[in-house]
Amino acid sequence: MVRTFFILLALIVGTRSAMAVDIPADASPQAYAEKFNPDIFALNDDGSPKFPMIHAFGADAASDIAHDVSQNNTFNLLVFLPFLIAPQVLLLIVIFKFRDRGDGRKPATFMTNHKLETIWTLVPCLALIVVAVPVVRVLYNMELSPQSVDTNDTSQATVIKVTGHQFWWEYEYKGETAIDFGHDIVANQEPCMLVLGRPAVFTFTSGDVTHAWWVPAFAIKKSAIRGRGTNAWFTPTRLGVYKGSCAELCGEGHGIMFISAMIVTPSDYELWKTMARHRADTDEVWGLLQPLDGSDPAPDDKLHAAVDKYFATDQSPGRRFALRYWIATNYQALHRCPSYPGRKDELDAHEAERKAKIESLVAALKTSGPPVARQ
């Protein structure tokens, strides 16, 4: 029954006694699990994605450079468009005007026209000169390292080292050595957490083969190469959940090497960091509750001991909330349809299964009385 209590501790919506200031009074671990670990494959009732893919060239793109790139791309398209349309129009004219109708018309015999040839050599050159200048400003803005922010100050910039692995992404936040997200992507879509308006500075590298980190909404794509570091930076400009993918063939799991990235408010970011710091310690409790090999959960006394150990050094509200948050997150990840875009009916089935499980646990609690407070 103790086991049940701890699961409920994590899952039931409700306030606990005193919370620290950094955790809202009405915080629900389950709600935060859904908020900070969104199901990027979820579909709406009409089959449309719950978090639509936002591409780099849309008005709702989410980084400063995406806006630059989008503007620049529109400009380039306008300059290039005549060179798409003119040949097609000429082709249509030629096809309809000069077809052989058997009326005895003699074909023309000209073989050259210097004026025309000069025009269609020089005009494209002019067009290239027109696009060549503004693109350089955008490019250098993207590629040069940030001058205006101090990357050593975590309140000025989110500095993230992204390491690609077959087939998951590891994010290390500068100044946050305790955050460790080494997890199989199928089990857990760990999001890359960014702060609204705070420049995000990335270094990409790889633990094995070459990958590429690509979130279209940020207009960022960089190869993650073993033995090398590649850099990119941008300023997040819009709150939300953004989907991405690995963009370099990296083996059989390349297709499921998805990325989820979130842009959150500074206060949410602090809350998430609080919980992330305790992540590794909660794993022992979670591992006993839900053994990876699918065997039955560990006996209650072992769980007891694990929870005692978790709280031995630190019983702060943040740490307590973190345990409940991570158990809720893990449950959610476990019972979420694994990381592929699924059919609606199957997703519904899994959702129903998860809800039923939670409800049965709630029922079990009601028959056995309130949980013993463990401090």
Partner: protein
């Protein structure tokens, strides 16, 4: 060579060769450039169908976001039996199919596809009896057979075929399941195909340089011959670089070297640079011969001469030179210095200029003509339409900031399919319909050809334009599953694929049926030489073994001399 040329002008009274074999043995031992051309052709259409079948497996799999995987994952979750499916049983197999589709289409379909026509037509166009090195020519073709066999048999070795993409980037191609023999067989297959390619290139260069008929000066060369010349130069210079790249892989895989192994001080980016030093010029190997051929086709069916001969030739030359200088535009996301990125962007954009000149010159060639829309001409016009769209995608991709978003996405896949299928393959069809009467003495069906053209044209446009949309919205390439966002465009692509494969099947059938049609008795069934003076139409259909009884009695017009006279 001198003896060869001395023969011209002297009338022949008897066939100069003694036929030693007949039937199958004749085809196996032939050194006649025409028969080798036909062997290339049949090899290529067969490979094209196989490569198309691989594409079919991929497209059917991608028709829905993850239909197969849904079933598999559901089975794992509920503990029920996993339903049988190729790609779900073995995700590796999907990558094998992607790799083999690309390898077969590039090395065994499009590159040798143009060599087929170059082999058959170029000696005819320059009034030669055969290629300079007939036996080497045959050897070059027969090398492709073991190369293809190596590729296909690698599916049956331990670990399966190569699965690291046709680019075979290390470290992926060095480790894990990719360290199995399949990848080595792929390397050797590429080596063999490369040797074949180099032999063909040497042969064409020597042939065009030395075996031109008397009076056929450089300034009178037909444009297809010029294109062949430039393409052969690219092949000769670039293919050894590919050999170097895959040899580095081979050494790293088997002999403990560390060219590309990061742990031992190697650099994966080195391989990428060397690989693209070949593989960017290779895209011009796959289109320039067609650029030459379409000039002939458009002029022939417009009853005109080629407009702007000199600028056409110089444009091909410019593309040849620029093609060697832009390779790193495939690598804008690997972290190059920004200055280099700027250079490669400008150089890539610059290629648009000579290409644009060619497109406008083709249109000017048609302007004022009396155009007969045979199937060959329809394919030529279809090429113009699709190639301009594909080229437009190329301009967009050349811009680095945009490319960073589109690199390795389906936009790139759509772009290069639009220029390779909408461009090269449409041109191969156009050439086949144009020169098949010359090559076999039988017409291909114009009625069925209309179906082939329209299915192909609409299919290619739908399939590959939809790919552009997928990529623009954020779908990466080489994935077996994707976000539900890309459902519609992927469905369209699969629909377009089916149109193209029906067209290809109809064409394949028509090739066989054509042999049952009555023999063509005239030399020049398209009446090309009413306006032009093209040697290949001055001999019978198909030409005799020795091509010409004597030098074709057509005055070869100095095309360069015409340049500068406005009609």
């Amino acid at each position: 060579m001198a003896e060869n040329i001395a023969h011209y002008g002297a009338p022949m009274t008897a066939a100069p060769q003694i036929k030693r074999y007949s039937g199958v043995m004749d085809w196996l031992t032939t050194v006649d450039h025409k028969k080798i051309g036909l062997l290339y052709f049949w090899f290529v259409v067969t490979m094209g169908l196989i490569g198309g079948a691989f594409a079919g497996a991929i497209r059917i799999h991608l028709a829905t976001p993850g239909a197969v995987w849904e079933a598999v994952n559901h089975a794992h979750l509920t503990g029920t039996a996993v339903p049988y499916n190729w790609f779900s049983e073995n995700r590796h197999l999907y990558n094998e199919f992607v790799t083999m589709h690309a390898t077969i289409m590039i090395f065994f379909t499009i590159i040798p596809g143009f060599i087929a026509f170059m082999n058959y037509i170029v000696p005819l166009l320059i009034g030669a009896r055969d290629m300079a090195f007939p036996k080497m020519n045959a050897f070059g073709f027969w090398l492709l057979i073991p190369a293809a066999l190596l590729m296909f048999s690698s599916f049956f070795v331990n670990g399966g075929a190569a699965a690291s993409g046709w680019t075979a980037y290390p470290p992926l191609s060095l480790q894990g399941m990719h360290s199995m023999p399949g990848q080595d067989m792929w390397i050797f297959g590429v080596h063999l195909a490369g040797v074949s390619s180099i032999l063909a290139a040497i042969n064409f260069i020597v042939t065009i340089t030395n075996l031109r008929a008397p009076g056929m000066t450089w300034t009178k060369l037909p444009i297809f011959v010029w294109a062949t010349m430039f393409v052969s130069i690219i092949q000769l210079l670039a293919t050894p670089v590919l050999a170097a790249a895959v040899t580095m892989l081979l050494m790293d895989r088997n002999f403990g070297t560390s060219f590309t192994v990061p742990e031992k001080g190697g650099d994966p980016i080195l391989y990428q640079h060397v690989f693209w030093t070949y593989s960017h010029p290779a895209v011009y190997i796959m289109i320039l011969p067609g650029f030459g051929a379409i000039s002939h086709i458009i002029a022939a069916f417009s009853h005109k001469r080629v407009f702007g001969y000199a600028s056409m030739v110089f444009a091909i030359g410019a593309i040849t030179v620029l093609g060697f200088m832009v390779w790193a535009h495939h690598m804008f996301v690997v972290g190059m210095p920004t200055l280099l990125q700027t250079y490669f962007m400008y150089a890539s954009l610059l290629i648009g200029v000579p290409t644009g000149i060619k497109v406008f010159n083709w249109l000017a060639t048609m302007w004022g003509g009396t155009i007969r829309f045979t199937v060959a001409m329809k394919f030529a016009c279809g090429f113009l339409c699709l190639f301009v769209i594909g080229g437009f995608g190329g301009l967009i991709l050349a811009m680095v900031p945009t490319d960073i978003s589109l690199n390795n996405s389906y936009f790139v896949v759509g772009h290069f399919h639009m220029v390779l299928v909408g461009g090269s393959v449409m041109l191969l069809f156009a050439q086949a319909y144009y020169w098949w009467p010359k090559m076999t003495g039988h017409y291909l069906s114009e009625g069925l050809g209309n179906w082939v053209f329209w299915l192909m044209f609409i299919g290619v446009f739908v399939a590959f334009f939809a790919m552009h949309i997928s990529g623009y919205e954020g779908m990466p390439r080489r994935v077996p599953v994707y976000y539900a966002d890309f459902k519609f465009s992927n469905m369209l692509t699969t629909f377009g694929y089916f149109l193209t494969i029906i067209a290809a099947a109809l064409f394949y059938i028509d090739l066989f049926v054509s042999y049952s049609r009555p023999k063509i008795t005239v030399d020049d069934p398209w009446q090309v030489n009413d306006v032009q003076h093209s040697f290949e139409w001055a001999t019978s259909c198909p030409p005799p073994v020795y091509n010409f009884e004597h030098v074709p009695p057509i005055p070869v017009v100095d095309q360069m001399a015409h340049h500068g006279t406005n009609a």
